[in-house]
Amino acid sequence: MSASEQDARGNRAEYARELRGYLLGYGLAIVLTLVPFGLVNWAALRQYGLYVAIGACALVQVIVHFRFFLHIDPPRQNVDDLHLILFSALLLFFMVAGTIWILASLAARLA
């Protein structure tokens, strides 16, 4: 087998692997979209249960998008990229949770 044939075969295997990744990501994302929309449309749970289910599906779907569409794969990833994602997530958490906490507390005091 010549070197270029070997190349083409490696290429095909890698193409198949990456195509499977996109198809799997798309399938998972569709399911994680259908489930919360279905639950809300048919009011399948009590309100509190609905909120938990919507939040859980959203979190998993965000992870699926990161993994299969943005190709963020921690063991293989450049360390700088991972640090940036984690640091941004931390900042986002402080800012969003802090805003909601402080303003909800203020609203309760003013009520």
Binding site: L50, A58, H65, L92
Partner: protein, 208 residues
């Protein structure tokens, strides 16, 4: 999966078959990733504002009266499918020998993005007809600060895609076009993640 090579930057890596992009891609895509993370902070703070303003309705209509689950569902499917078609465009860029497939997938992505925007515009217009514009209440101001900002991002993504298609037609798939397509891919998939948060917390949370 263990045989897969390490990733040099976020998004699809073109690998050794595209040596001309290897030199610059890690640096350029890291910079673009920094921009996306700062954009995520802006969206996150608008979400926090929305959560705080949710009950500030000044006697006006609330989510139960204004949101339409069917339209939010079709919009979600359109944007999600456009993320998939962009993924197929990325594979056509990485493995394809001719440009027709690449352009075809990009055009499909633009059509799905356009469908999304058309449906979203219809939602906003029907809200305006019900007297629920941004000036009606604090809740609606925060809604119109957040959701149309995402729509504006999608619009700019479509304009960018059109510009790249014209560059492909004019110059072929050269290094700069490849690097542009890699960055637009990050942008497009990132917008889909923001939309996951919008349909979950705003539309479904409001209707639950």
């Amino acid at each position: 999966m263990s045989a897969a090579p390490p990733l040099r930057h976020p998004g699809i890596n073109l690998g050794p078959a595209h040596p001309e992009t290897e030199e610059k891609s890690a640096e350029l895509l890291f910079g673009f990733w920094v921009f996306l993370m700062s954009d995520a902070i802006i969206f996150g703070l608008l979400f926090a504002t929305y959560a705080v303003m949710l009950h500030a309705r000044a006697g006006g209509p609330g989510p139960e009266q204004l949101y339409d689950i069917k339209s939010a569902f079709i919009e979600t499917l359109a944007l999600l499918s456009s993320s998939f078609t962009y993924g197929m465009a990325s594979l056509a860029l990485k493995y394809g020998r001719r440009h027709e497939w690449l352009i075809g997938w990009l055009v499909a992505t633009m059509c799905l993005g356009g469908l999304f925007l058309r449906l979203e515009a219809q939602d906003f217009i029907s809200m305006f007809h019900e007297g629920a514009g941004p000036s009606r209440s604090g809740y609606l101001s925060s809604f119109f600060a957040l959701v149309p900002l995402h729509g504006l991002h999608v619009t700019s993504g479509i304009i960018w895609m059109l510009a790249l298609i014209l560059q492909i037609v004019r110059y072929g798939v050269d290094r700069d076009v490849k690097l542009g397509l890699l960055r637009l891919g990050l942008f497009w998939h990132f917008l889909d993640i923001v939309w996951v948060a919008i349909f979950s917390f705003i539309y479904l949370g409001g209707l639950a």
